[in-house]
Amino acid sequence: MSKAEPVNETLLRRAFDGAYYLSQNPDVAIAGLDPLDHYMASGWREGRPPAPWFDAATLLSPQQRRRTRQDPALLVFLEGKSADDPTLEGRLAEQPLGKLTAAFDSVFDPVSYLEQNPDVAGHGMDAREHYLKAGWREGRRAALWFDAEQWCGLNPDLDPVAVNPFLHFISHAGIEAGGEDPQEKWLHLTGISAESSAPQYVTLPMVSTAEIGDDEAGARRPIVVEARLPRSADLDLMRAHFDPDYYRATNPDLPANITDPLLHFATVGWIEGRDPCAEFSVSFYLKENRDLASNPANPFLDFLRHGHREHWRRAVSVREAQILNSFSEPGAMKDRLDAAKALDPMVAMPPEKRMTTSPTLSAKAPADAVEAIREALGGRRYRYIVAVPHVRMSGASRVASIFATALARVRRPQDILVITTDSSEAEYIGWFPDEIDRLNLSTLIEHLSEEQRQRALIDLLRGCGAQAVINVNSRLMWETLEAFGRQLASEMKVVTYLFTWDETPDGDRVGYPIQWLRHTCNHHHVLLTDTKALARDVSERFGYGVINAEGAEGAEVLALHTPASDSGVRAVVAGRNAPKRVLWAGRFDRQKRVDILVEIARANPQITFDVYGKAVLSEARLPDFDPPENIIEKGTYSTLQEVLETPYSAFLYTAQWDGLPTILLDMAAARLPIIAPDLGGIGEMLDDSTGWLIEDFTDIDAYTKALKQATADPAGAREKADALAERVAATFAESRYEAEIEGMLKRHEL
């Protein structure tokens, strides 16, 4: 097989569409990188197309595609093709804008432009961008030989305000990148010689004879390069990282009249081995990346353009370079190292490039975080930390606020700190009393790794003298307990609020009371539950209160009935002759089994079902459940008052699993008769004397029977509702809740 012809560079430049590449890769454009250089260096590996017409998947054969693992895909495609390949030409011809851009770039001389326009250079602007945006209107020259005024004189139809004369010339003269010499075209079309039209200017040779680096043999060598004014884009790139104060401070020998230290560095400074900032050592970069020696370009620029992405390159700070050099260059430190190697040659291992480490850098982010936390707390101490994930519309947030309020009543509010750990959502922060301090921890630690966040939380708990941490669904607290629970439990009391589990579509139980509790079961002093049913469940599963051992007392499991707040709203129970209307309100999520509601409605066409709610954990909508006509979607509500202005016969509740939903407590307080399944803690408030408790949550007949009773006998239903309201008032009283908490705190000496 004959070796394919190497790709002609002209062909490559014509096929590669720089303007397209920059438009598709803003990171390259922003970094001021040469698009072709970028494509050849790394873009092809990253799958970035070199031109809009180029699709490596369809234009390359399977064999060629394998080659692209070694070569840029465009090179493989162009291999053996000639510049006049009709296929290629045709494709390129479809890209007039690309051609014009390429032609412009081949003619425009940014160095010359900056030399002519020191004001542009001085402001650090990109020459090309400046010319195309404003320069041509200001009469600045794109090329020394091109005189816009003369071109406009030859083209009277050309509006020199609306159309860039230079682009007009390129387009009308048929200038192409790599094609005929544009100056000759100019001469041919205008009869004006380039020399006669060009302004006079003087170039300032900048040559350094400073010694830099060392060659393979280790000898210092003088480097003489032609130092040219760098491109504006390059200056911009360097300016973002260049430290002029550092440059002046570390180079006291600089002439005092240097106005722009960056220009000095970019022209002769780097050649003389001067460093642009504390973070980058020029001499170390050159020494460690010897392949750059053959191309004497500014190493700082090389690093900013490409090197920082090239994992084989080494760049270190000036200080690191000094340390590393001290162990490799003749001197006392190298002598000490050599002596250690003589004692044990393993000191030279591992055979890798050595790097310096310091907690100053490696631990900066977590140190900043814990410093911010400490300062935010302002030296205040807190005995009780209540950890919540966020404060948004959720049962856990609501319970956390009720618990914190009760805690503030039985203990001092100033001893309590509420921390939000997982997200900064705090829409309902007003649920917490103003006299309790709150800290949005999540924003202070969001940039840290998982373990760093856990350690920051521990730092806070220790730092403010916490004697107890009360976790109300904080994921960070659960994770911290899983990793560091044995230490935390030995340093403070761990109180954990549990709510009902979730169920998978297969009906398997998951969530905090299941796998999270299994991984932390030895690290809780108190487990609070919102229902007796859940308390019983976790006690049975883990043997809490039954199986104890020295040093592992096991958690106290305490069911705390969340106090029901009586808003004073009273339902109007529909009379016997009123239209039969039932209320349903809840989330359209899987747990709430809207499908069962629909079945019940189908089985009871004589009843109208007003349905309030929306999906929270899914995208489900009520129409997705194909509701019959007697289900009326009412949207969401803001106050219970507006809902209960309509007379209803009963409140219907459906679900597959549950704890003790607060909506039932609200309806009980409003004295609306309730029909609900026997799930979780619902049976702790509802029975035959206080409502209708449906044994099997899927039993449509049982629901239907209850609905018939409720609608047929409004007086009987009202009696049950009154009995329920009394029970709730007694069982779910704030005073009882606070007394339970007080007892728990005393038992645990808190």
Partner: protein, 247 residues
């Protein structure tokens, strides 16, 4: 105190790796003596295996003590060893690490005339064998030192030269890996800083630290250990008011 410096090397199960460490130990002591310092050496073992015991025995030279403990706790062993130290200063070496030959001389020169609160660390820990890093120690009186950082990361290791009185005043805390507590040297650093001592860096000095895959530090990290609570873990410690004022 009957001498200038007590040098303590602690061994466990290092076996033949301890040979190089003991050679560096004695070479540094010889250099210090040659510089005119009175130095005593103490060879200390904690639950050693027979080979490590034999290696120590073979390098006993003029050590004033050759002791074996059954603690399984580096902090306890150091505390007991330093309790018998006769030197004004005490220097520790672990039996898989290496001192530079002139480390002791550099440190004693550095501490000469310094306040009794000063603790001398090498500028660099040169890690070798499984880790190619040079750990840079930070001078507590430099701008780089932050007390907040010391709560969550350790600035210095235990192979320092320290006034013996400081070890008596602030002993190492117990390690309890099972309960989740390790890093006794880090906690000691916190406690000494909290007590007003100063961790200083001896310029142009280096120790060589062997990093093996089963090092105690790596084990402690993998087992989710914490340092014990100490005065610096409390946000109300006065050092934070000082740093705020200085800042």
């Amino acid at each position: 105190m009957s001498c200038d410096l007590t040098c303590i090397i602690t061994g466990h199960r290092e076996g033949r790796l301890a040979v190089a460490s003991l050679r560096s130990f004695w070479a540094a002591i010889d250099a210090a003596r040659a510089a005119g310092h009175a130095v005593e050496a103490r060879l200390v073992l904690d639950r050693p295996n027979p080979l490590t015991h034999a290696v120590f025995e073979a390098h006993r030279k003029d050590a004033v003590a050759f002791e074996a403990y059954d603690h399984g706790d580096q902090g306890k062993v150091r505390n007991e060893a330093v309790a018998k130290a006769n030197g004004r200063y005490t220097a520790f070496l672990d039996a898989d690490d290496l001192w530079s030959e002139d480390w002791l001389v550099q440190a004693l020169d550095f501490l000469d005339g310094a306040p009794e609160t000063h603790i001398a660390h090498p500028a660099y820990n040169y890690f070798f064998e499984q880790q190619a890093t040079i750990f840079c120690h930070v001078d507590q009186e430099s701008d780089a030192f932050r007390p907040d950082l010391l709560r969550i990361a350790n600035y210095w290791d235990a192979l320092c030269v320290c006034p013996t009185a400081i070890y008596h005043e602030i002993p190492f805390c117990d390690r309890d890996i099972e309960a989740g507590y390790a890093y006794e040297d880090w906690v000691w650093n916190c406690e000494t800083v909290a007590a007003g001592k100063f961790h200083k860096v001896v310029p142009e000095s280096v120790l060589f630290k062997r990093r093996q895959n089963n090092s105690q530090t790596i084990r402690a990290s993998a087992s989710k250990s914490l340092g014990r609570r100490n005065p610096l873990t409390d946000y109300t410690h006065p050092i934070y008011e000082r740093s705020a004022t200085e800042g």
